[in-house]
């Protein structure tokens, strides 16, 4: 039934303030990724701070033995003093990769938002953008995660940790991978929508 748009439909409308808000959020997310993954480590390097490398090792708290505590593994930062240029650069690689991944993802979201807000959701370019986002999540995130783990293991391979060598938490990023699959599905729906739009265009 045609009529005035209801309050709830108005709430869901993506207006100018929403677009500005999302753009600001995307810029913040990209800046945070760059700060944590590149700028922070470089500043630490310049300041001569030891290189912090994450690892996993057994937790031992002797005072808890009396109550029969079951120990598990804990995450630690091993501080490598006197890390060389090669080690510093190796440590930077996953951070740079993640920053690029986040920046490209945010750019794709921004372009997608602009098209949708302009009322042209079924632009064929949006299908490519959604597929790009799906690839970033389903493949890019696990690749960066794997790069982080292998880099940390490589950096600690020569360190004497006294616990039988460095460890890594096998936490495969399932959630981004699942999100990527969902986005791939949405991209397929948009592809069908684009085809429908092509069919309807020129219909009298």
């Amino acid at each position: 039934m045609a009529g005035r748009p209801s309050l709830s439909s108005n709430l869901w409308r993506f207006d100018r303030s929403d677009r500005w808000g999302l753009t600001a959020l995307l810029v913040l997310v990209t800046a945070a990724a760059a700060l944590a993954g590149v700028v922070g480590p470089v500043l630490d390097w310049v300041a001569g701070e030891p290189l912090a490398v994450g690892t996993v090792g057994p937790v031992v708290v002797p005072t808890l033995d009396a109550v029969g505590t079951r120990y598990g593994d804990g995450e630690y930062d091993v501080l490598l003093t006197g890390a060389g240029v090669g080690q510093r650069l190796l440590d930077l690689l996953p951070g740079v990769a993640l920053t690029v991944l986040v920046a490209v993802g945010c750019l794709l979201v921004q372009r997608l938002m602009r098209g949708v807000a302009a009322g042209d959701a079924f632009d064929p370019r949006n299908v490519s953008r959604l597929r790009g986002l799906a690839l970033l999540l389903a493949l890019g995130v696990p690749v960066v995660w794997f790069a982080r783990v292998t880099t940390d293991l490589a950096l600690l391979s020569g360190a004497d940790l006294g616990t039988g060598g460095p460890g890594a938490l096998v936490e495969v990023p399932w959630l981004p991978m699942l999100g990527g699959m969902v986005l791939a599905l949405v991209a397929e729906a948009f592809r069908a929508g684009t085809q429908l739009r092509d069919d309807v265009e020129g219909l009298v």
Partner: protein
């Protein structure tokens, strides 16, 4: 599967309107579609026509679909 090749359907609205001394705007108003859409049909730029539009055009012009549209030989 949709056919992607260009069509060879030719619209004869020009001739039909001339024979009846009718303007495109008058036909558009009588049929209930916009002049722009009818112009698209008249100039062979339409990709498809709704049966309801075709019925209305035929009713107003007093003709059959074959009088409005024909297929050019390949």
């Amino acid at each position: 599967m949709p056919v992607e090749e260009p069509h060879r359907v030719v619209c004869h609205l020009d001739r039909l309107l001339e024979e009846r001394g009718m303007t495109l705007a008058a036909l558009a108003e009588a049929v209930g579609v916009t002049v722009v859409n009818l112009s698209v049909l008249k100039n062979d730029r339409a990709k498809a026509i709704r049966f309801s539009t075709l019925t209305a055009v035929c009713d107003v012009l007093g003709c059959q679909p074959g009088d409005v549209l024909s297929v050019e030989p390949a």
